[in-house]
C-alpha cells in the first residue's frame, strides 16, 4: 500500500505493475480488493507487482481525482500505462492473471477472430516455427489463464494464437468437440513445406491446465522417433518420464529404411500418447524371439518390457490406446479409493473374507438341526456304541468355515432322512474341547465316520452336500466287499449288489484274485480301505475266479472297473504294487478321458499337473465336437494334456475364467489351451477353424513350436495381504517414546523424545477434557455400547495431525 507519490516514484523501467487507486475503501470494492490481494503472489511469479495506492482525500490528480478511475485497475510497464481494466473484468485470481498476462504478452499471443487471420499466421510460420492454437470459450477463465501462463514460458519458442470464436474451432477440423470446452492444438508448421496444405495438428487430449499444456508442449518438442542402440530396459525418454509408454520398433539393417518410415508413421499417430523408438537389433544383443517386431515399455517400474509380434501399425496404435484406457480406469479407481479412504478412513475393518461374511449374514437364520444329534463329552462314547454308523461333524461355533459346513450338513441330513443304521451327529469343540482333542481334531471342520468296532474313517472329500452324502452312502458297504459267488460278482459289477447301493448310481471296482495272488490281495484290501467312501470295491478270490477273468479277458490278479451300471467293464492288470501305489493307480483309472470340468472335480485333474485343453460351451457341446475331442483325448502319445469341456450353464464361474482370459466372453464354443503349471500362457483356438482332431493337432503343433501368440498370460503374482494391519507398534512408539529407545535395531535420537509424562502417573492423561471423544460419540451414538475409545485415542489423533503438518 503506497501513496500516489511513493508509487509513481517507485516505478522502474520495464517492470510491470498493477495498481488500484482508492480514497478509502468503498464497500463495493471489497471483494475485488480481496481477489487482487490473492493474485499478488501469482503475478509476482511473472514479475508483476500489485499495488494498492491510497489517495489522499484532497488529491484530484489523474488517477485519484476521477470518480470513474476508482472503478478501474491500471497496468503499467515502467511508468507507461498499458491498459485500464474495469474491476468487473477482474472478478477472481484467474481472470486477473489471465488479463494481465494477456495485456503484457500482446506480441507473443496473437488474438484472431477469423479463419483468414489464422491462415495468414500459419502461412507465415511455415518452415520457421510451430504454432500453439488455443480456443477458450471466454477470456478470464482458468483455461485462459493456463494458456497465458504457458505463453509466458513458451512464447518465444512457439507462436501462440488465441481465439474465443467457436466457428474457428470448427473450421480447423475440430467441429465435433463442443464449444463450451477449451481446446489446444499444436500445429507443426516448422516441418511444413507445402504452402497449400495446412500444418499438421496434434490436439491435446487433456483439460487445459498449466501442467497439461506444459506436458503437451514438452512431448511435442521431443524428437519424433528416438534411435536406440542400447538395452531397451535402460532406455528412458521424455515419454517415460511423463508417464507414457514407449513403443520400440525393432529394426534390422536390411529393413532399416522401411522400419524408419513405419516408426515415423506410428509416431505421428501416437504423438502425445506414447513415444516411439527405433531399436536396431544388430547393435543390441537381445534375447527375444526373432519374430518379434515391436516392444512395449510402460512407465510403471518393475514391469518388464513386452515383446510382441504385430502385423499391422493399427495394432500398435490400438495396443497403446488400450493400455492408456486401462490406465485411466485404474487412475479413476485410485481416485475413488482415495475418496473412500477419506470417507471411511479404514477399509481395514470391513470384512473381505467371503466365507466369514456369508456366514455372519446368515447367522440370524435358525438352522434345521433336528435331524442332527448333539453330542457332548458325556454322550459321545455311548452314542457311538448305539448305532452301527455314526457320522460326527466336529466344528466350532465361532469358526466360519465349519459353520458353512454345518449348513451343508443339514442338507445331508435331509437326503439321508430315514436311512437305517446311520446317525448324523455333531460336536461343538468350543463346548467340548476335550472330546475334540481326544479324537485328534486339529482342523475345523472335521468329519469322521465311526463304525462299531472299527477304526474311524476321516472324511477327506469336498465340503459339500452331494459329496458328503455320497461318501456316507458308499461307506455303508464294507470296502472291499468279499463276494462269495460268481453270480454275486456279476451282480456287483452291474451295480445291483449290494442292495443298499442298487438305487444309487456309482462306479464299482472288482478285484479278481487267484489263490496264488495273496500279496496283491492284501494290498488291494488295504487300498480298498483307504478308498472307502470314494468308490466301492469288491473282491473275488474263489476257485472259479478264472471264469470271471476269462470273461473279461484279464488274468488274475486284476481289477475290473465298471462304470454306469456295468455297461462298460474295463480290465486292468495288477502287478506287484504296494497299497499306496494301488490307490494312486485306482484314482487315476477313475478319471474320465474327456471329462466335463466342474468346480467339484477340477482338483482331481489338477493333480495330473498337465496343461488343459478346454472346450467352453454354453450348455452341452455338440456331438461332433465331443467326438473329435474324444479322439483327441484318446489318440496320440497319451496324456500330454487334459482334454475336457466346461458347461457354462452348469459351471457359470467359467464365464469369469473367459473374462479373465479375453476381457469379454468370446463367442461360444471356444477351445482354449491353458498351461496352468508352466508359464501360465493362454491360447485360443482360431474361431474360424472348425474343431476337428487334425485342426487342433496342427494348432497344438504350432503352439509348441512357439509360433502362436498367447492371448494372455496368467499372473504369477503372490497372494499378498489384501490390506494392511493396524500398526500398533508404531502407535505405541508415538505415544510412549521410551519404547523406541528400547529397540535394539535402530535407536532413535533422544532429542526426538517428547517430554515424558510424570513417572507412574497418567493423571495428566485422565484429567484433560475429552472433546474429541465427545465429538466421536455424538457422531456415532451406537458405539457407546461397545465401549468407548479413551482419551488417549484422541491424543494420538492430534499427534498424527501434528506430524503431518
Amino acid at each position: 500500500e503506497l501513496s500516489p507519490q511513493e508509487y509513481f516514484s517507485s516505478l522502474q523501467a520495464g517492470r510491470a505493475s498493477l495498481a488500484y487507486f482508492s480514497h478509502n475503501v468503498s464497500p463495493g470494492a471489497q471483494p475485488f480488493l480481496e481477489q487482487i490481494e490473492h493474485s499478488a503472489e501469482a503475478l509476482q511469479d511473472y514479475g508483476v507487482s500489485v499495488v494498492k495506492v491510497n489517495c489522499p482525500k484532497e488529491d484530484v490528480s489523474r488517477y485519484c481525482g476521477k470518480e470513474n478511475a476508482l472503478r478501474k485497475a491500471y497496468l503499467f510497464r515502467g511508468n507507461m500505462l498499458i491498459r485500464e481494466f474495469p474491476t468487473d473484468a477482474l472478478f477472481d485470481v484467474n481472470s486477473i492473471v489471465a488479463n494481465v498476462l494477456f495485456a503484457l504478452l500482446f506480441n507473443e499471443v496473437k488474438y484472431v477472430e477469423t479463419l483468414a487471420d489464422l491462415q495468414n499466421i500459419e502461412n507465415t510460420l511455415k518452415g520457421r516455427s510451430n504454432m500453439v492454437f488455443a480456443y477458450v470459450p471466454a477470456t478470464g477463465t482458468a483455461e485462459h489463464r493456463a494458456v497465458m501462463e504457458a505463453a509466458f514460458v513458451y512464447g518465444t519458442v512457439h507462436q501462440f494464437v488465441l481465439t474465443t470464436e467457436a466457428m474457428l474451432l470448427k473450421d480447423t477440423g475440430n467441429g465435433e468437440s463442443d464449444a463450451s470446452s477449451a481446446r489446444l492444438l499444436f500445429c507443426h508448421c516448422q516441418r511444413a513445406t507445402d504452402l497449400a496444405q495446412p500444418c499438421r495438428r496434434t490436439a491435446m487430449g487433456q483439460t487445459l491446465t498449466m501442467l497439461n499444456i506444459h506436458r503437451h508442449l514438452k512431448l511435442m518438442g521431443a524428437p519424433l522417433v528416438t534411435e536406440v542402440a542400447e538395452d531397451p530396459e535402460k532406455v528412458s525418454t521424455v515419454h517415460l518420464q511423463l508417464g507414457l509408454p514407449l513403443v520400440f520398433i525393432l529394426s534390422q539393417k536390411e529393413t532399416y529404411e522401411a522400419d524408419r518410415r513405419t516408426a515415423e508413421f506410428v509416431a505421428w499417430q501416437l504423438l502425445g500418447k506414447a513415444g516411439v523408438a527405433l531399436l536396431s537389433r544388430d547393435l543390441v544383443d537381445l534375447n527375444i524371439l526373432l519374430r518379434s517386431n515391436v516392444a512395449l515399455k510402460t512407465p510403471d517400474e518393475g514391469v518388464p518390457i513386452k515383446y510382441l509380434v504385430l502385423e499391422d501399425t493399427d495394432e500398435v496404435i490400438k495396443l497403446v490406446e488400450d493400455k492408456n484406457k486401462v490406465k485411466r480406469i485404474q487412475e479413476d479407481e485410485e481416485e475413488n479409493e482415495e475418496d473412500e479412504d477419506e470417507k471411511e478412513n479404514n477399509s481395514q475393518d470391513i470384512q473381505d473374507d467371503q466365507v466369514v461374511e456369508a456366514v455372519s449374514r446368515d447367522k440370524k437364520r435358525e438352522l434345521p438341526l433336528e435331524q442332527i444329534l448333539v453330542l457332548t463329552e458325556e454322550t459321545f462314547h455311548s452314542a457311538l456304541s448305539e448305532t452301527a454308523r455314526t457320522v460326527v461333524l466336529f466344528y466350532a461355533s465361532w469358526e466360519a468355515v465349519s459353520l458353512a459346513m454345518l449348513r451343508s450338513y443339514t442338507k445331508v441330513a435331509d437326503h439321508l432322512k430315514g436311512m437305517q443304521g446311520v446317525l448324523l451327529s455333531r460336536v461343538n469343540c468350543w463346548d467340548w474341547p476335550s472330546v475334540c482333542t481326544a479324537e485328534n481334531v486339529t482342523q475345523f471342520p472335521t468329519i469322521k465316520i465311526y463304525k462299531k468296532g472299527e477304526r474311524a474313517v476321516m472324511y477327506d472329500g469336498m465340503w459339500g452336500t452331494e459329496e458328503l452324502t455320497s461318501f456316507i452312502m458308499l461307506s455303508r458297504v464294507s470296502c472291499p466287499l468279499k463276494l462269495a459267488t460268481v453270480d454275486e460278482a456279476e451282480r456287483y459289477l452291474r451295480g445291483e449288489f449290494p442292495s443298499e447301493l442298487s438305487s444309487y448310481h456309482h462306479t464299482s471296482l472288482l478285484g479278481v484274485f487267484s489263490t496264488a495272488t495273496n500279496e496283491a490281495r492284501k494290498a488291494f484290501e488295504e487300498a480298498g480301505n483307504i478308498l472307502t467312501g470314494h468308490v466301492t470295491t469288491g473282491m473275488y478270490f474263489e476257485d472259479d475266479a478264472l471264469a470271471l477273468s476269462r470273461k473279461y479277458a484279464v488274468s488274475p490278479p486284476a481289477l475290473l472297473l465298471s462304470r454306469s451300471g456295468g455297461q462298460s467293464v474295463e480290465g486292468i492288470a495288477l502287478s506287484k504294487q504296494s497299497a499306496q501305489e494301488m490307490v494312486q493307480m485306482i484314482r487315476y483309472e477313475l478319471l474320465d478321458v474327456f471329462p466335463e470340468i466342474t468346480v467339484q472335480n477340477l482338483p482331481r485333474y489338477l493333480q495330473l499337473r498337465k496343461p488343459f485343453l478346454i472346450l467352453f460351451g454354453d450348455g452341452d457341446i455338440s456331438q461332433m465336437e465331443s467326438k473329435e475331442m474324444l479322439k483327441l483325448a484318446k489318440g496320440g502319445p497319451q496324456q500330454e494334456f487334459v482334454a475336457c469341456w466346461l458347461n457354462l450353464k452348469k459351471t457359470p464361474v467359467g464365464r469369469g475364467v473367459l473374462k479373465a482370459y479375453f476381457a469379454t466372453v468370446p463367442s461360444l464354443p471356444v477351445l482354449v489351451w491353458v498351461n496352468l503349471h508352466a508359464g501360465g500362457q493362454v491360447f485360443k483356438f482360431p474361431s474360424e477353424q472348425s474343431i476337428t482332431e487334425t485342426n487342433v493337432l496342427s494348432w497344438l503343433g504350432k503352439l509348441k513350436a512357439g509360433l502362436e501368440i498367447p492371448s494372455s498370460t496368467l499372473s504369477e503374482e503372490d497372494w499378498k495381504p489384501p490390506l494392511p494391519a493396524y500398526d500398533f507398534l508404531q502407535m505405541m512408539e508415538t505415544a510412549v517414546p521410551e519404547l523406541a529407545l528400547h529397540t535394539s535395531h535402530h535407536r532413535r535420537d533422544t532429542s526426538e523424545r517428547r517430554p515424558s509424562e510424570s513417572p507412574g502417573g497418567d493423571t495428566g492423561v485422565r484429567e484433560e477434557p475429552s472433546q474429541e471423544t465427545k465429538a466421536e460419540k455424538v457422531g456415532s451414538p451406537g458405539r457407546d455400547l461397545r465401549g468407548t475409545a479413551p482419551r488417549l485415542a484422541a491424543r494420538e489423533k492430534q499427534g498424527k495431525r501434528h506430524s503431518e503438518l
Binding site: E315, A358, P433, T664, S712, K720, Y726, T788
Partner: protein, 675 residues
C-alpha cells in the same frame, strides 16, 4: 538308557546308605502333588516327602479363620472344561473330572478343610507316591560327573535316613512366619497362634501389625466386638481390584476399610515397624512408643520413666493404649535345610522372602534344583498368579515339560497345523486357554513357523522369561520366525494408587486395541528368536523385548474374543502382514476361478481345494457372499452383458482385473504399413 542303567546300578550299589530316585519332591502341598501327578503320568521314578501325616498340612492350619479367598466358581454358563478352569482357583490339573474342586465345596469362598480333603483325595485317588511323616532336615550335594546335573542331591530326614536324587523339586511353600524384633515385641501375639474366637476380643482395643490378607482377615473376624482396631504397616494398603494382583487385599476381607473411612473408630496407619517399641504398663495395657526414645533409656526403669510420643506431641495418633497387639506379617521360605553348597539365596528387596530362581524356575545357585509352588512366586511377585494354586499348577506343568526335554529327550508337546489354521488356533486358545489367562504375562503360547510359512507348530504355555532359550529348553527349532501369544493388562492400568473405575476405561474399537486396559490377548511377532541380550534390554514392564510387529486383540467385556469383525478380522490382517500372504477363506467356486486364472493360489485354496477339500458352501451362503460383493454371480452375466461391474459389486472382478493381461488377439488385417 545309559543313564537309566547307571542309575539302576547305583541304586543297588549304594542301597544300604541311600534310597535313590530320579526325582525327589519336598512337600506334598498343592504344587508337590501337582508335580507328582505329572511325574506319575510320565512314568518317572519319583517320590514326594511330606513331613506331616497327610498332604496340605499348611491348609490344615491356615488360614486361621478357615475361609479361603480363592474363588470356587461353579457356574460360568459354559461347558468348556478348559475355559472353566479360568474361574476355578482351587483345582489341580489332572485328567480326572472327579478331581475338580467344585465337587468338594459349594461355597464361593470355600472352607480350608475342603482343600485339605481335596488334596488328600488328589494324592490317594491318583495313587501318587507320597512318603508321609518324612521331614527333610538337610539337603546337600554330591559331585558326580555322571549325574544329570553334575551332582546328586543328598537328602536327610528326621530319622537320619538318606535319599539320593538326580533332580530336586522344592515344593515346601512359605511357612516360616515373618517376625519383627523391636523392644516389646515379646508382647505381640502371632497370627499362627492368636485366638480365632471373637468373644476373646470383646471390648478390647487391638493393634494389628501388617496389612495383608491375613491381617484384614483377623480384623474382619473381630471387627464387631472390639472397641476399635488399628492397623499399622510400612506401606499403603494395596487393593487387589486396583492392582489386579490376587495376593493384595481382597474385597472379601476389607470390612475394616469401610469402618475406617466411615468414621467408626477403626483406622489404618503407616509407619515402619522397625522404629516401633511397645511398653506395657502396670495394668497390662500396651503403649506404642518409638525405639528412638528407648535407646537413651534403661528399659528396666519401668514405664513411668519412658517417654511416650504423646508427651511431646499431645495428639499423637496411637496414644490410646491397646489391649492386644497381633502380628500378621506373612511367611517366608525355609532356607535352613539347604547346605551352603546349594547356594539357596534369598531374593532382593521385596522378594527377599523367596529363594532366587530363574524364569525357568531353576535355582540360580544349583542346577537341577527347581522351586515349585508358592515359593516360586519371585518370578511374578505382585504381577501374576504364580504364587497361588490357580497359577502354579501351570508353571509346575511347564517345569515338568522342561525336565522331560532336558532329561528324557521328550520335546515340548506341540501340534503341527497347516497355515490355514493359524487364525483359528490362536482364537481357540485365547478364548479357552486357562494357563494363559491365569498366568498372564508369564506363560505364553508359542507358534513356530515352518519354512515358507505353509505350516506352523503350536507350543502351549511356555515360560516367556526364557524365550531366548526356547530351542534348548523345548527341543523345538525356530528358524523361520515365531509368534508369542500372551495375555496382558493395559500398561499403567494396574497399581495401588490407580483409579480403575475411571470413565471410559474400556476400549471398544479394534483400531485402539493397544490401549486396552483389561486382560486381553497380545500377539508378538519376531522374525527370529530374541537373544538373551535382547531379553535383558526389554522395556521396563514389558514381558518381552520389542517385536517386529505386535497385535492387541481389543479387550472384551465377556472375554469372548470370537467376534468376526472386531476380533478375528484384525488378527487375520496382522498375521497376513507378518507372513506376507492372504489368509482369507474362499468358497470352492473362487478357488476354481483362481486355479484357472492365476499361477499361484491362496493358502486356503492350495491346502484345501487343490487337495479335494474345497468348501462348496450352500446356495444360501453363496448368495450372501454375492450380496456382500465378495463373490461374483456369473449366472447373471447373460443379462448384464459385458457391462463393466461397478466398484461395489465387482470386487471379485477387481481381484482378477490385472491377473491376466489381455493382449489383442491378432486378426489378419490388411497390412497398412505401406503408408
Amino acid at each position: 538308557l545309559g543313564l537309566a542303567l547307571y542309575a539302576g546300578s547305583l541304586r543297588v550299589a549304594s542301597g544300604a546308605a541311600f534310597l535313590y530316585h530320579d526325582y525327589c519332591v519336598i512337600g506334598a502341598g498343592p504344587s508337590g502333588l501337582q508335580a507328582a501327578y505329572f511325574l506319575q503320568q510320565a512314568s518317572r521314578d519319583y517320590v514326594v516327602f511330606e513331613r506331616s501325616h497327610a498332604p496340605g498340612s499348611f491348609f490344615a492350619l491356615y488360614p486361621r479363620h478357615r475361609k479361603l479367598i480363592s474363588i470356587n466358581k461353579r457356574y460360568t454358563g459354559k461347558s468348556n472344561g478348559e475355559f472353566n478352569l479360568r474361574h476355578d482357583w482351587n483345582s489341580l490339573l489332572s485328567h480326572d473330572r472327579q478331581l475338580l474342586f467344585q465337587r468338594y465345596s459349594r461355597d464361593f469362598f470355600p472352607n480350608a478343610d475342603a482343600m485339605v480333603r481335596y488334596l488328600e483325595d488328589f494324592a490317594s485317588l491318583l495313587k501318587l507316591r507320597v512318603q508321609y511323616n518324612t521331614a527333610i532336615v538337610h539337603v546337600t550335594l554330591e559331585r558326580d560327573g555322571q549325574a544329570w546335573n553334575g551332582h546328586y542331591f543328598l537328602l536327610t530326614d528326621q530319622d537320619r535316613q538318606n535319599y539320593k536324587c538326580s533332580s530336586l523339586l522344592v515344593a515346601t511353600g512359605m511357612w516360616v512366619p515373618n517376625v519383627v524384633n523391636f523392644p516389646g515385641s515379646e508382647y505381640v501375639e502371632g497370627y499362627e497362634t492368636v485366638s480365632i474366637n471373637p468373644e476373646d476380643f470383646a471390648g478390647q482395643t487391638v493393634l494389628i501389625l501388617g496389612r495383608g490378607n491375613s491381617a484384614f482377615e483377623t480384623a474382619e473376624n473381630i471387627l464387631g466386638v472390639t472397641n476399635f482396631i488399628h492397623m499399622v504397616s510400612r506401606s499403603r494398603v494395596r487393593l487387589s481390584w486396583a492392582t489386579h494382583y490376587v495376593g493384595d487385599l481382597r474385597a472379601i476381607n476389607n470390612g475394616l476399610l469401610d469402618t475406617y473411612q466411615l468414621k467408626s473408630l477403626d483406622g489404618l496407619l503407616e509407619g515402619d515397624l522397625e522404629d516401633l517399641a511397645i511398653v506395657k504398663d502396670k495394668k497390662g495395657k500396651l503403649h506404642i512408643t518409638l525405639r528412638f526414645y528407648l535407646d537413651n533409656r534403661n528399659t528396666s526403669a519401668g514405664i513411668d520413666s519412658i517417654t511416650l510420643p504423646q508427651d511431646e506431641l499431645d495428639n499423637f495418633a496411637t496414644r490410646a493404649p491397646y489391649d492386644r497387639v497381633i502380628r500378621c506379617l506373612g511367611w517366608k521360605f525355609d532356607f535352613s535345610i539347604y547346605n551352603r553348597s546349594l547356594r539357596m539365596m534369598p531374593g532382593k528387596g521385596n522378594k527377599k522372602k523367596y529363594p532366587q530362581i530363574k524364569p525357568s524356575y531353576e535355582s540360580r545357585g544349583t542346577r537341577g534344583l527347581f522351586v515349585l509352588g508358592t515359593a516360586s512366586h519371585s518370578v511374578d511377585f505382585r504381577k501374576s498368579a504364580g504364587g497361588f494354586i490357580h497359577g502354579f499348577r501351570y508353571t509346575t506343568r511347564a517345569v515338568h515339560r522342561l525336565l522331560e526335554n532336558r532329561h528324557h529327550g521328550v520335546p515340548w508337546p506341540s501340534t503341527v497345523y497347516p497355515i490355514t489354521q493359524l487364525t483359528n488356533s490362536i482364537i481357540k486358545r485365547v478364548n479357552e486357554a486357562s494357563g494363559l489367562y491365569q498366568m498372564f504375562s508369564v506363560l505364553a503360547d508359542i507358534i513356530l513357523l515352518r519354512e515358507n510359512a505353509t505350516a506352523f507348530e503350536y507350543l502351549e504355555e511356555y515360560p516367556v522369561g526364557v524365550l531366548a532359550e526356547l530351542e534348548m529348553q523345548t527341543g523345538r527349532k525356530a528358524p523361520n520366525g515365531l509368534f508369542v501369544i500372551i495375555m496382558e493388562y493395559g500398561r499403567n492400568f494396574s497399581g495401588a494408587d490407580k483409579d480403575v473405575f475411571y470413565y471410559n476405561r474400556a476400549v471398544g474399537e479394534a483400531q485402539h486395541a493397544w490401549q486396552s486396559n483389561f486382560l486381553h490377548p497380545v500377539i508378538y511377532y519376531y522374525k527370529r528368536l530374541p537373544t538373551e541380550h535382547e531379553m535383558r534390554l526389554r522395556p521396563p514392564d514389558w514381558p518381552l523385548p520389542r517385536p517386529d510387529a505386535v497385535h492387541h486383540i481389543v479387550e472384551d467385556f465377556l472375554t469372548d474374543w470370537t467376534a468376526p469383525n472386531a476380533h478375528i478380522l484384525p488378527l487375520r490382517r496382522f498375521l497376513e502382514n507378518c507372513l506376507s500372504t492372504d489368509l482369507r477363506n474362499f468358497f470352492a467356486e473362487s478357488c476354481f476361478l483362481f486355479a484357472f486364472t492365476r499361477q499361484k493360489l491362496p493358502p486356503f485354496c492350495q491346502q484345501g481345494y487343490v487337495r479335494m477339500q474345497g468348501l462348496v458352501g450352500s446356495e444360501g451362503l453363496r448368495r450372501h457372499a454375492v450380496e456382500a460383493g465378495l463373490l461374483e454371480d456369473y449366472t447373471l452375466a447373460d443379462f448384464l452383458g459385458d457391462r463393466p461391474p461397478d466398484s461395489r459389486e465387482g470386487s471379485q472382478d477387481q481381484l482378477l482385473r490385472d491377473h491376466a493381461i489381455p493382449v489383442r488377439p491378432l486378426q489378419h488385417l490388411v497390412n497398412a504399413k505401406d503408408e
